[in-house]
Amino acid sequence: MAKVAMTVNGRKVSKECEDRTLLVHFLRDTLSLTGTHVGCDTSQCGACVVHMDGKAVKSCSMLAAQAAGSDILTIEGLAANGELHPVQAAFKANHGLQCGFCTPGMVMTAVDMINRYGAKLDEQTVRENLEGNICRCTGYHNIVKAILAAAEEMGAAGRQAAE
């Protein structure tokens, strides 16, 4: 057992856990942030994606101890002041979810790719960047539409803010 300290959704946390504790279990079981899902347990499905220091990572494939000292953002940290994040809103508007199980990972992956590509995202790039996220309802088409819509809106918002 060791004390693991990190920042999660802007809040400093410090909790005892076994060294072998995966980050996803630390988030779900220790911090009760159950929005991050365990889908496959074999590192393939991406339902567990969170951001570590601003980059999308699979929280099922790293120890909480490896994330110690870092800044973690989960799906619970996206909405601000009761307003859905533009990516969440776009998933809702474009029916980008069916059963919803993969959605937290899809949304965190979408935010990550929009952070990297901005408004210049195109469909091909979105599909390539969804390589690590599996939707077993196979609803990819509307997920791609939602991400493109969000990228456009966030790009427009970014341009307005810059003007």
Binding site: R20, V49, A56, K58, L63, T109, M113, G132, N133
Partner: protein, 265 residues
């Protein structure tokens, strides 16, 4: 996962000290192979020594044609480095197509080559670029480094610190990813040096891991073209046969990937 003890190394010397304190310690960098393997209980190191925060193992430098990549540099960092893209775009392209974005944010070049997965991408690049693998104790040429399936010349406790190579005049990489795992079923890295010498390395297809292909090298040295690669007979004898494809199928993939790699170079 079996119980393990986690240690974070602050320097290469610190990492060696932490590793040597236990008989069954393992280094972990991005952990994109090791952690999933531990989850399956196929590996059970008593201790993990984390190299991800060792500053002297990070970063990319390009001096003229000389390239140095720190072992703890992630695939994402390799793929997005502007100076590397200018010096050797083939390795940027390779790094940009490993696994998925999440894996590329964590996985490192040092971890990939130290693991020497027979279907990993980087070993072919190291071999075709004639890279030198720098460890905490010595320098090893790529040709001597990769010794078999998941086998390398690394001694117990030895750490890959960086890799260096001279950016070639031309280089290209093409792989045929397994549709499910995205690991290479065949990947071919081709280089042509300033003096005209050619190296061709093949990953994913060899039954003993990454290897150089003399026939493709000779044909491309004589005539650097996709057509020249197309004319080479690829012997299936030492190629891998498994549920994903027969040796003969992989032999054809090697030829097609070689053609595409030359066309992309």
């Amino acid at each position: 996962m079996y119980a393990t003890s986690y240690h974070r190394a602050s320097s290469v010397a610190d990492a060696v000290k932490l590793q040597s304190a236990s008989d069954e310690a393992k280094y972990v960098s991005g952990g994109m192979t090791l952690i999933p393997t531990m989850k399956q209980r196929l590996a059970a190191p008593s201790d993990l020594v984390d190299l991800r925060h060792v500053a002297e193992m990070k970063g990319i430098s390009v001096n003229g044609s000389r390239v140095r990549i720190g072992a703890a540099t992630t695939h994402y960092e390799v793929s997005s480095s502007a100076e590397l893209k200018a010096a050797c775009p083939a390795i940027s392209h390779l790094a940009a197509h490993i696994g998925d974005p999440h894996v590329r944010h964590m996985g490192t070049i040092g971890g990939s080559i130290a693991n020497n997965d027979p279907a990993a991408d980087y070993p072919s690049a190291m071999l075709a670029l004639g890279a030198t693998i720098i460890t905490n104790t010595r320098e090893i040429s790529a040709g001597d480094f990769f010794t078999g399936l998941f086998e390398t010349a690394l001694e117990e406790g030895e750490i890959v610190v960086a890799v260096t190579f001279d950016a070639p005049a031309k280089a290209g990489y093409s792989k045929f990813p397994n549709p499910a795992s995205r690991y290479a079923m065949a990947g071919v890295f081709v280089t042509k040096a300033g003096d005209g010498s050619v190296r061709v390395a093949v990953t994913g297809a060899g039954s003993n891991g990454v290897f150089r292909h003399a026939g493709l090298e000779a044909a491309l040295a004589a005539n650097w073209s996709a057509d020249a690669a197309a004319g080479v007979d690829i012997d299936a004898t030492d190629l891998l046969s498994d549920l994903h494809g027969s040796a003969e199928y992989r032999a054809n993939l090697v030829k097609v990937m070689a053609k595409r790699a030359v066309a992309a170079a």
